[in-house]
Amino acid sequence: MSDRPRRTLPRVLVGAAVLLVLVLVGAGAVWFTQGGAPTIGGPFKLVNGQGKTVTDRDFRGHYLLVYFGYTFCPDVCPTTLSQMADALDALGSKAAEVQPLFITVDPKRDTPQVVGQYVANFSPRLVGLTGTPEEIAKVAREYRVYYAIHKNAEQPADYTVDHSSILYLMSPSGAFIAPIRADQSGADMAKDIARHLS
């Protein structure tokens, strides 16, 4: 009887602390997504499939849907790019505001020509970008994308690249809006994207 209040009091405190943490995390997430700091994304200078240099500024005025991958990937990357193309179809007239981008994390094998030919398999609207290993490392760092070459002992030339598989929705002014799941159907992707379009 006597120690009952003592036992419940800490629980209340713990509950309050948990709530406080949740509120702080929530506030942090809002600050994070409302452009309190440019934590995801940033300036880049890369080369498109036609060998032309392009920068992030060239895409101002359009929402960007950015995916990082590599063309030697037969399974996951084509699935994602195909779903991205389906998502654009599902967005209908709103798709005109969205520019889909594929940025390679394998600049050594993915030359402008390879990337250009590759993206054309999925959608005429999809722009493929490559660059020097340093330029790719910079843009990947800005987007918080992890990538690492994984060598096959017997066939070192046939290496694969482990990489973050996520889509980034960026605003017409170049600010990060939201991550979009890559492992979902084009229809679901379109719903996720449409929610953020004005």
Binding site: F72, P74, D75, S82, N121, F122, H150, N152, S164
Partner: protein
């Protein structure tokens, strides 16, 4: 036509898991073999469903004349990072079909000898640890397709040996 009918009959136990009949040609059945459009010289992929009504077995190798190399791979997601790794064998047993599908087990085709176009078909041979080799026909879907081509009926592409 008679052959098609026979193939459909062979596929029956797969459609009805508790069905009384089984294929006389062997316990392993390979179905829904499909690929994706991809240009010559680049990489491609093969997906399929393997069922086993007998003793446990393993898919160990795949070959096709359309590619210089065909390797069994698995895509795995770890904390949002996709990794693709070669695997030596993939298990198949009764009641546990082996499904090669986007984002999981797949056969990676390296060095395509010809362009694979949507609607194309090409031959594939699948080898197992115990069962004899099985020859099948792969059907090509569009680039990046998430599922087998719709026109591909079940049992189509089954050719037990």
């Amino acid at each position: 036509m008679r052959r098609l009918l026979l193939l459909s009959l062979l596929a029956m136990p797969l459609l009805v898991p508790s069905g009384p009949t089984r294929a006389e040609s062997g316990p392993i059945q390979v179905q829904q073999v499909w690929s994706r459009a991809a240009p010559q010289g680049r990489v491609g992929v093969l997906y399929m469903t393997v069922t086993d009504s007998g003793a446990p077995d393993q898919l160990v190798a795949v070959s096709t004349p359309v590619a210089e190399k065909a390797e069994l791979h698995e895509s795995v997601a770890e904390g949002g990072v996709m990794k693709m790794r070669p695997v030596a064998a993939a298990p198949v047993e009764t009641g546990k079909p082996l499904v090669l599908k986007p984002g999981g087990y797949h056969v990676m085709l390296m060095g395509l000898r010809r362009t694979l176009k949507e609607g194309d078909e090409f031959p594939v041979t699948i080898r197992f640890a115990h069962a004899g080799p099985i020859s099948v026909t792969a059907h090509v879907a569009k680039a990046g397709a998430a599922a087998a081509p719709a026109e591909m009926g079940r049992g189509n592409g089954t050719m037990s040996h």
